[in-house]
């Protein structure tokens, strides 16, 4: 039998939706990462966060590395941004009762995608 995903363990969409919205709120308020979303349509932004959280928790969405790269490579995302988002993710998950061990698993999943999301270093 397939192993239970974190998505299932934490109550499926009804619970994960709350994580998504909290994550979305925090991101918009963040002065570090928020500006990336300045000109993004709300429904696209929500769509993106829903898929993002679902895929990290093993829910019904997954992005291939190539897709992730395509979605982010036009943005000037630095390691500092990635780290900030990682912190936001960690806090949001912890606030919603995700066990520390599981938070670590999610963060590791996230970390694995760093190279697809953070742009190659360039000289300003």
């Amino acid at each position: 039998m397939a192993q239970q995903t974190l998505f299932e363990k934490y109550g499926g969409f009804s619970k994960v939706s709350k994580i998504v919205l909290a994550f979305y709120d925090t991101l918009l308020d963040s002065d570090e990462i928020g500006p990336f979303f300045d000109d993004i349509d709300m429904s696209r932004m929500v769509d993106h966060q829903t898929k993002f959280v679902a895929s990290l928790l093993g829910g019904p969405a997954s992005y291939s590395d190539k897709q992730l790269h395509q979605l982010h490579n036009h943005l000037d995302i630095r390691d500092a941004h990635f780290d900030e988002l990682k912190d936001v993710l960690k806090e949001t998950l912890s606030d919603h009762g995700v066990e520390p061990g599981d938070v670590d698993i999610v963060l590791q999943e996230f970390e694995q995608r760093r190279s697809q999301i953070v742009g190659s270093p360039h000289v300003d």
């Binding site: 500006p35 300045d38 709300m42 429904s43 929500v46 898929k51």
Partner: protein, 351 residues
């Protein structure tokens, strides 16, 4: 504190944006704290069209003139959050003064939730489609190894009850010198050719209502009368057998590898069932299967040996010759027959 003062406090603190406008100029007379929180401190200075970007002022005026009411949804960007606000205008008057009461509800969260549900349901629907496709492929695979009616039973009950089919006819085909072929030629080429031939056999058998049961290496077994009874089961396998040989003869003319087969035909009862728990195989068991195997061994290359009972049925329509009485291992001594392809000898017109 007077009632008026309490009312004003409430109006200011309430989580709904409230404002009072001049009907003619659409300038603000009053707005509460919530309204200011959403639209900023400049609200009191600017007139309404400057605050609500994208508001259709002409439609607002028309609505107020006709029904004293107008509702709309406006988008407003606060910091970087896109707010969606449902606004309702109601015409009012205070003495000589014409006013408009404006009530604003923040429906941003509702819209965000709707977007999230859209996003999620699209993911789920896509997954559902994928699962359905996979299920169809599994079904197709299982239908390759068992008849549909058996599959339906298997799906409904999880098990298949062994079932007796009587009478049916069995066609057993075996290739001559297959082992040597595999050893001498490139085995993968041989197996690829075998696959082509089996596929052709499947199509030929299908035309006559035969159901292929299995192949074991170079042996091919197909039956008629299973799972649905068929009155002409013997004729069906005879027709199939003749066309197998025609197919191989034609194929041999254009291919470097020569394929020769022996065929045995027998009728009788068989029991059909799914065997195995993890690795299912649909198989048939019974004397007819064994007899067809033995008869096949009596055949010369590219010939068809037929059981006595079957020969009696075929006699009217097919050309058969006696091969005399033979001892058949596991069976009584009995006369066996050879089935010939009468196509070339007979004139096309039927007698």
């Amino acid at each position: 504190m007077s009632i008026e003062a309490i009312n004003e406090q409430l109006l200011r603190a309430i989580g709904v944006g409230v404002a009072l406008l001049d009907r003619a100029s659409l300038n603000f007379h009053f707005h509460n704290d919530t309204f200011e929180e959403w639209f900023g401190a400049q609200v009191g200075v600017n007139s309404l069209p400057d605050v609500f970007e994208g508001l259709d002022v002409a439609a607002l005026n028309a609505g107020l003139d006709e029904s004293s009411r107008y509702t709309a949804e406006i988008k407003h960007k606060k910091k970087r959050r896109n707010m969606v606000i449902a606004v309702e205008f109601t015409a009012a008057s205070e003495g000589e003064q014409q006013l408009v009461v404006l009530v604003c509800q923040n429906i941003t969260r509702i819209r965000e939730l709707e977007s999230m549900i859209d996003s999620y349901s699209m993911m789920v629907e896509r997954n559902t489609r994928e699962i359905k496709r996979e299920k169809e492929q599994v079904e197709k695979l299982l239908l390759n190894i068992m008849p549909r009616s058996v599959y339906e039973e298997f799906k409904a009950f999880g098990v298949v009850t062994p079932q007796l089919y009587d009478p049916i006819s069995v066609l057993m085909l075996d290739f001559v010198g297959f082992t040597d072929m595999v050893a001498s030629a490139d085995p993968s080429v041989t197996v690829t050719e075998l696959n082509d031939i089996y596929s052709a056999f499947d199509r030929i058998g299908e035309q006559f209502g035969c159901e292929r049961i299995k192949t074991i290496g170079d042996a091919y077994i197909t039956v008629a009368g299973l799972p649905d009874p068929m009155p002409d089961h013997a004729k069906a396998v005879a027709n199939t057998a003749i066309r197998f040989i025609r197919y191989l003869e034609r194929r041999n003319k254009s291919h470097p590898h020569q394929w020769h087969c022996r065929i045995g035909l027998a009728s009788g009862a068989v029991v059909g069932s799914v065997v195995g728990i993890q690795k299912y195989v649909y198989d048939i068991f019974g004397p007819a299967v064994n007899l067809a195997t033995r008869l096949q061994e009596f055949s010369e290359p590219m010939q068809i040996s037929v059981q006595d009972d079957v020969a009696k049925t075929l006699r009217e329509e097919f050309e058969i010759d006696s091969l005399g009485e033979r001892d058949i291992r596991g069976f009584s001594t009995q006369e066996i027959w050879r089935l010939n392809d009468s196509k070339r000898e007979l004139s096309p017109a039927k007698a």
